[in-house]
Amino acid sequence: MITITITRTGGFAGISRQWTLQMEATEWRELVSAAAPPPPSAPDGSADRFVYRIRGGRRSLTIPDSHLDGPWRELVDRARSAGEP
C-alpha cells in the first residue's frame, strides 16, 4: 500500500485542503500509466479556480479543477469521502 496525498489550493477563499488515502501500489501505477495527463494550467482568463496536486510515491501531478474528470475525479472523490474531518 502507498499513501496518496491530494492537496487542493487556490479558489476564492485561498484556503488549502489536504486529503490522503491508501492504495495498492499496483493500482496507483496502473492509474498513472493509463490516464492521460491533464493540462497543468487553467484556461486563459479564468480566476479563483481550484488546483489539485496529487502525489503518490515519486509521481506528482497538477490538475486544474476544469480538467478534473475520469479516473482522477474518482480518485479525488474517494479521498474526500474517506478523509473528510
Binding site: T7, T9, G10, G11, F12, A13, G14, I15, S16, A42, P43, D44, G45, S46, A47, D48, R49, F50, V51, R53, D65, S66, P85
Partner: protein, 378 residues
C-alpha cells in the same frame, strides 16, 4: 502620462462638466443621508466622479476642446440606454456549464435565494461601474452578465471562467452559498473588468494585484450599495460565507489582513499585511489569494486617509491606475503603486495631502512606488 490614451480622451469628451466644485460634491456625497436624501446623495456621488476624469485631463486637453460641451448629449444618451443584461442559470448541482436559464433581465424574482442574490448582486455591481466609473459593463460595450448558481455538489467556491461567473452552494459545514456576500459577486465580475483592461497576469505579484482589484472593487460595490463611508465600512471580504461553526468573521480583512479567521479546521488567515511577510509559494498561482492582502491594505489605508466614501476618494485613483496605458500585464506591486501615485498627482496635485496619503499608504505596507513620478508643478 497615465491618462492620455485615446479611450480616455473619448471618455473625457463624453463627460458632463460639473459646475459644483468637487470638494463640495464630496461633502454632499459623504454627509447626505441616503435615506433622507437618496436622490441628492446619489446625484452628488455621480457628479463627483464624473467631474474627476475632466479634472485629471483638463491640463493636458488640447486647446480646441477646452470649454466646449458638445459631448453632453451624447453621454446622456449613452448612459440612459445602459442597463445590465443579466442571465442567471442553474447547474442543478452538476459541474456542467452553463446550466438551464432560470432568470433573465427584467424577470421577477424566482424565489431561489442563490439565483435572486446573483441577479441583485450583478445589478449592484453593474450600477457601481456605470454610475461611478462610467463603464458600460465588463467590456464597456454592454457585455451581457452571465452567471451560474448551484454549481457542483457541496462546492466550496465561486470563480470566473473567462466568460461567466460561477457560484457554488458551499458544503453547509464550513461554507454557505457563495452568493450571500455581495462583495463576492463584485469580486467575480471585476475579474472580467481586469481581463478587459490591464489584463494582469494571474501569477505572483501581478496575480495578487488582479486578486486585489477584485477585492477593492468588490468592497466598493458593497459600500456603494449600503451608502457607507470609509469609517462605517467593515472592509471585510466574504462576511457571512462561513457557517456558525467556523471561528471567523470573513474570508479576508482589507483593514487587518491575517485576522479574518482562526479556526481548528481551516487554520489561521494566512494573509500578510506587509511586504516583509510576503509569502513565496508555488501553490495558489504563487499565493495570489494570500499576498493580495498587501495591496488590499494599501487601498484601505489610502481610502481612509483621503476620507469620505471609497468610491469618490481612493476608488477613482485605483480605477485610473487599472486603466493606465503604462500598466503592464506583469506589473509588480511597486509598479502598480507608482500608477496610483501618478493618478493621485494628476487628480489632487503634486503637493496635496491626498497624494501624500497614497504614497504613505504604500510605504506603510512596505512598498516604494516605482513609477517615475511626474515633474513637480511649477
Amino acid at each position: 502620462m497615465a491618462l492620455a490614451s485615446s479611450e480616455d480622451w473619448t471618455s473625457v469628451l463624453l463627460m458632463r462638466c460639473s459646475i459644483v466644485p468637487p470638494y463640495l460634491l464630496a461633502r454632499i456625497a459623504a454627509s447626505a443621508d441616503d435615506r433622507a436624501m437618496p436622490v441628492v446623495a446619489r446625484a452628488a456621488r455621480r457628479a463627483l466622479v464624473e467631474s474627476m476624469p475632466v479634472r485629471l485631463a483638463r491640463n493636458a486637453a488640447p486647446e480646441a476642446f477646452r470649454g466646449r460641451d458638445f459631448g453632453t448629449e451624447r453621454r446622456d444618451l449613452r448612459a440612459a440606454t445602459r442597463s445590465p443584461q443579466r442571465t442567471i442559470s442553474d447547474a442543478e448541482s452538476t459541474e456542467t456549464l452553463p446550466g438551464h436559464v432560470v432568470r433573465r433581465e427584467g424577470a421577477a424574482p424566482v424565489g431561489d435565494a442563490a439565483a435572486d442574490e446573483a441577479y441583485d448582486g450583478l445589478g449592484a455591481t453593474f450600477a457601481l461601474y456605470d454610475e461611478v466609473f462610467d463603464r458600460d459593463s465588463i467590456d464597456d460595450r454592454g457585455l451581457p452578465l452571465d452567471a451560474t448558481v448551484h454549481y457542483g455538489e457541496e462546492y466550496d467556491n465561486a470563480f470566473w471562467d473567462g466568460t461567466r461567473m460561477v457560484f457554488g452552494d458551499g458544503d453547509g459545514e464550513i461554507f454557505r452559498r457563495f452568493t450571500v456576500s455581495i462583495d463576492v459577486i463584485g469580486h467575480e465580475l471585476t475579474h472580467g473588468v481586469t481581463q478587459f483592461t490591464a489584463g494582469l497576469l494571474y501569477q505572483g505579484q501581478s496575480g495578487a494585484l488582479n486578486e486585489s482589484m477584485s477585492d477593492v472593487f468588490g468592497a466598493m460595490v458593497a459600500q456603494h450599495q449600503l451608502g457607507q463611508s470609509v469609517e462605517q465600512a467593515t472592509w471585510l471580504i466574504g462576511a457571512g460565507l462561513f457557517t456558525d461553526r467556523v471561528e471567523g468573521v470573513a474570508l479576508r480583512s482589507m483593514k487587518a489582513p491575517g485576522t479574518a479567521y482562526d479556526d481548528d479546521i481551516l487554520g489561521k488567515d494566512p494573509q500578510p499585511a506587509h511586504m516583509d511577510e510576503y509569502v513565496d509559494t508555488p501553490d495558489d498561482d504563487g499565493g495570489v489569494h494570500i499576498n493580495s492582502g498587501i495591496p488590499n491594505r494599501a487601498f484601505q489605508l489610502a481610502a481612509t486617509a483621503i476620507g469620505g466614501t471609497s468610491w469618490t476618494g481612493a476608488g477613482p485613483v485605483w480605477w485610473a491606475a487599472l486603466r493606465s496605458a503604462t500598466l503592464r500585464p506583469d506589473a509588480d506591486f511597486a509598479a502598480f503603486a507608482g500608477e496610483t501615485v501618478a493618478a493621485a498627482t494628476t487628480a489632487f496635485g503634486q503637493g496635496s495631502l491626498k497624494r501624500e496619503a497614497v504614497v504613505d499608504a504604500w510605504r506603510t505596507v512596505g512598498i516604494e512606488p516605482a513609477h517615475p513620478l511626474p515633474e513637480p508643478a511649477e
